[in-house]
């Protein structure tokens, strides 16, 4: 493992708040998680629900503080940083939530939603923020005239595009997508996957794609880590891992994915 990796995670763990959490993990949401990721790559994080994926994502994106361990982004330690430094780091890592619809304030217009991060971080004046919002919406493949519409008027796929446009507002380097593609039609899923690939190329983005669906992740991610019971049970390059799954959990996920793929099942 290289020390000059873009993202490096070492021995990261987080306990549940006192008195909660499943017994089998002894009160830990996840523990002992270490991984490395190079810039411009995509890591797929898969595993059954309740495996600690979302909590890990929240720790990586500076939402929740880990109980132990360290996260470094380009050699800068995330959780050891001071307040001002952390505010800057926060802009470089963006998390897109499980349900994009709930993540958009129904009272805001699309333009306001996309420009909100700029407003919060006080970047530019109102005029430049509006311009940047229009730019971002175009980048995410939304029609130019949509800026005045309210969030409720958009379809599921468009809402996902809005969430992506908003996440890009602060020029992040790392984008964490937590089940962001689940719950969409297959054709729309494909469109969003294309958009993500396109953006990765243009902006040199790094992705962590979280899903319970190994099949979905396999198409996009170069590397895959399988998480179960609060720790990473198996990881490696995607093609290798899919060809020779070692851990029973990985096999189970693979079977489930094959059963769902048209023509792949018995």
């Amino acid at each position: 493992m290289a020390d000059d990796a873009f993202l490096s995670v070492r021995g990261l763990g987080r306990r549940f708040p006192r008195g909660r959490g499943p017994e089998r993990t002894a009160g830990w949401a996840f523990r002992g998680v270490s991984l490395d990721l190079a810039q411009g790559r995509t890591l797929g994080l898969v595993g059954p629900s309740g495996g600690g994926k979302s909590t890990l994502a929240r720790c990586l994106a500076l939402y929740d503080a880990p109980t132990c361990g360290e996260v470094r982004l380009e050699q800068r330690s995330l959780w050891a940083a001071g307040r001002r430094e952390r505010r800057r780091l926060r802009a470089e890592i963006q998390l897109i939530f499980q349900q994009p619809a709930a993540a958009l304030n129904p009272r805001f217009t699309a333009g306001q939603i996309v420009a909100e991060p700029l407003l919060i971080q006080r970047r530019g004046d109102a005029e430049s923020q509006r311009k940047r919002a229009a730019e971002l919406m175009e980048m995410a493949g939304l029609p130019a005239g949509a800026a005045r519409n309210r969030a409720l008027e958009f379809s599921g796929g468009e809402r996902q595009r809005l969430a992506i446009a908003r996440a890009l507002a602060l020029d992040p380097k790392l984008l964490i997508l937590d089940e962001s593609l689940s719950g969409l039609d297959v054709s729309i899923q494909a469109q969003i996957v294309n958009l993500l690939a396109d953006l990765q190329e243009r902006l040199h983005l790094t992705y962590i794609l979280i899903s319970h669906d190994l099949r979905l992740v396999a198409g996009i991610a170069g590397e895959i880590a399988v998480m179960d019971g609060g720790s990473i049970v198996e990881s490696g390059p995607a093609d290798e891992l899919l060809a020779r799954p070692r851990h029973p959990c990985t096999r189970e996920l693979l079977d489930a994915a094959l059963a769902l793929t048209p023509g792949g099942g018995p």
């Binding site: 994106a61 939402y63 349900q99 709930a102 993540a103 009272r107 971080q121 908003r166």
Partner: protein, 327 residues
């Protein structure tokens, strides 16, 4: 749709009543302190269109009043005073020495109708201002409790539970008891607003806490936090707009209740003092009920409060119904 019509008509009706009270200086024929010592407890004036000889007058007129020898009055047909409109910068009035007491006069010979209009200013402004105080407190405490949670939440909510179980009128009197008995009208007003408003924050705070609690879990609040938003930003941009509906509905519940509280406190002699009128201190005269039995028009301020309370009640019901339907 029915709710919408109800809300609109109640609002229009309330606006008209409030405007009438606000324009007391123009609509009332007399000032609130104008005394006609020679006409105490005069009965309500009768507007007439037909004179003694049965002739019709387009312009209404009133007869003068003369003592009937039994402590009351009879109309003196010798002197007729036509009602003059836009008279001395007021909407209407009659020439001296005639009088036009539409709702009779009180023990000092002051016009009850005029005083009801002027007194409404005190009572309604007290209600509005106290509701503003309660809602501000309720918003601040409710948002603090719901948004921050933890011990702060427990402290505020436990305090609220206790405050709700207290007999509020006893509490108001107790607080009022610590202050000097005789204070000026502005101080009395400020005090009244603070006491009444400070006692009613619990219900709005509870409801607003509920909204804030659910807001904290919303994805967009989480997302904004992820962009580095401060608590102040989250509260201002996301939470406050969400609580607005609840706050407005609560205002329509609180205002009439506080108008009543002002009436009760001033009635007990602990509100605004004479000569400034308020509905409460006007009713205080009715405590001498033997006077009231022969001068029922002294109840006019309580009767005036009734349509306002009813309109607020209808408005509040309709708003709550709409909120329940709209989710």
């Amino acid at each position: 749709m029915a709710e919408r019509t109800k809300i609109r008509s109640a609002l229009a009706f309330l606006a008209a009543l409030h405007a009438a009270v606000a324009l007391a200086g123009f609509l009332a024929p007399y000032g609130f302190a104008d005394q006609r010592r020679d006409y105490p407890y005069a009965p309500p004036a009768r507007l007439r269109f037909l004179d003694a000889s049965g002739r019709f007058h387009l312009r209404p007129f009133v007869y003068g009043l003369a003592p009937d020898g039994a402590g009351g009055y009879r109309e003196d047909t010798a002197g007729a005073y036509p009602v003059r409109f836009l008279f001395h910068q007021r909407l209407f009035g009659v020439d001296e020495p005639g009088t036009i007491f539409l709702c009779g006069s009180d023990g000092y010979g002051r016009d009850v109708f005029s005083r009801v209009l002027y007194g409404g200013q005190t009572s309604l402004v007290t209600g509005l201002a106290a509701a503003f105080v309660s809602l501000s407190l309720g918003l601040a405490l409710g948002i603090a409790a719901g948004f921050y949670g933890g011990w702060l939440d427990r402290l505020i909510m436990r305090g609220g539970e206790l405050a709700m179980a207290l007999p509020w009128l006893y509490l108001l009197l107790a607080v009022r008891a610590f202050l000097p008995l005789h204070i000026g009208a502005p101080e009395a007003f400020a005090l009244l607003v603070a006491i009444i408003g400070g006692s009613g924050w619990v219900r709005p705070a509870r409801l607003i806490r509920g909204v804030a609690l659910s807001a904290r879990e919303r994805g967009y609040v989480e997302a904004a936090r992820g962009f580095g938003a401060s608590d102040a930003y989250l509260i201002r941009r996301h939470l406050l707009p969400m609580t607005l509906g609840v706050a407005l509905t609560q205002a329509t519940v609180l205002i009439p209740r506080y108008v009543l509280a002002e009436i009760a406190l001033s009635f007990l002699g602990l509100g605004i003092g004479e000569p400034a009128p308020s509905w409460g201190n006007m009713l205080a005269e009715a405590r001498q009920y033997h006077a009231l039995v022969s001068h029922p028009w002294m109840l006019a301020p309580a009767v005036a409060a009734f349509p306002i309370l009813l309109a607020y009640l209808i408005l509040a019901d309709a708003l709550m119904e709409r909120q329940r339907e709209g989710g």
